[in-house]
Amino acid sequence: MSCEKYSSWITDAALGDLPADREPELLAHTLECAACREALHHARTVHEFVDRGVESLVVGEPSPQFATHLRRRIVQESEQLRSPWTAWAPIIAGALALAVFLAILVTRRPVHNRSNPSVASAVYPISESPAALAASAPTSQNATRTRSQRNSNRGTRVRPATTALPEIIVPKGQLAAAVQLSAAISSGRADGSQLLAAQREYEKLLEVKPIEIAPIEIPALDAATAKPASSIQF
């Protein structure tokens, strides 16, 4: 029973971790008990092996070439630090590749205005200058202008009140007429509100009224005064 108690003490003693007040008791026991004495001896041997074995694994010095190699690596490191482009090169390369990719992506995207030229040629912002429109109406170049070009032109003018107006769709072939109308309204030669009222009036549905036909009154023939038709004289 007492040997079980001392078995853990033996391990602690072999590791040098046994409290000082327990050491005399353990030694006294090992003097009496041959098994525990042998166990303590064995534990101390094992732990001595362990310590010496681990020490043998970490003993040694770096080779003389260690200094040379380390020096070379540190010099290389310093040179890399001196040339900042070397460090930035991978980042710059990545950024360029990304820019090229985005450029390809943007240029390959279809432009909607070009996909429907008949509508595109008829669409113009109402805010455009009539003079400019009149000048550009006969040409076919402006008919294919993209929305972005118009927006950029619009951005250069100082007309904040009209820039928010909606675009109108002019049927193909009536652009010149629409421009002339717009110019007339802008210059005051024509009253826009009057024209609009006339248009509304024109579009108003016609009322269908029943035709009233007055009955024809036929006077009754007087037998006494009646004369044969052949006797009537005009």
């Binding site: 590791l15 732990h47 092996f49 362990v50 200094a67």
Partner: protein
């Protein structure tokens, strides 16, 4: 290592002269420490040198933050230990160790003398295998204790741990190692 420190071109070490001088002072004793820590994990001199150089190179890069001597040594030890572990894992050397250790065990049991056993390469391999089998937190304490002559205070400084923690981990590590190596020593007569 003094020769190493003296041979460094100052401009290569750092633009700051005081930093350069301090780094040269560290190089007087720290490469050996890093090398031994790496050797305790790698068990191979060439690989341990490579790991020690890598650790010192990292120390050079971060030296402006590690000017305190104790802090620098502790940082270097931990970096060297971590680098060595990473390299071991990358190479999958553990399986090779196990294979070697199995063979070493068979040969080691034939050894008749304790001194012969300790001096034998097979015993060294067996200890290395037992050390590799320890958890990392026990292993670094054990390696540092072997390097520093089992002085708890020094190990605590290097590992950045309280002394009590180091003591308990060291106790546990030695106990586990003893259990692993017991079969090797069992039938070997002392002396």
């Amino acid at each position: 290592m003094d020769a190493l420190a003296a041979s460094f071109p100052r401009s290569a070490v750092s633009q700051d002269e005081s930093l350069a001088r301090e780094f040269e002072q560290r190089l007087a004793d720290c490469p050996k420490l890093a090398y031994r820590v790496a050797l305790g994990v790698m068990h191979n001199t060439a690989e341990a040198e490579d790991v020690a150089q890598e650790a010192l190179l990292r120390a050079y890069r971060n030296f402006h933050r590690l000017r305190d001597r104790d802090r620098f040594r502790g940082w270097l030890v931990r970096v060297a230990f971590r680098l060595a572990l990473d390299r071991i894992r990358a190479k999958g050397r553990r399986e090779r160790h196990e294979h070697d250790a199995t063979r070493a065990l068979e040969e080691g049991q034939r050894e008749a003398n304790v001194e012969n056993l300790v001096a034998s390469r097979e015993f060294e391999r067996e200890v290395a295998q037992a050390l590799d089998a320890l958890p990392e937190k026990l292993r670094i304490v054990m390696v540092l204790a072997a390097i520093e002559g089992y002085k708890t205070r020094e190990v605590a400084k290097l590992a950045g741990l309280p002394e009590g923690t180091v003591k308990s981990r060291l106790f546990l590590a030695r106990k586990k190692l003893a259990e692993s190596l017991q079969c090797l020593v069992k039938n070997t007569p002392a002396g």
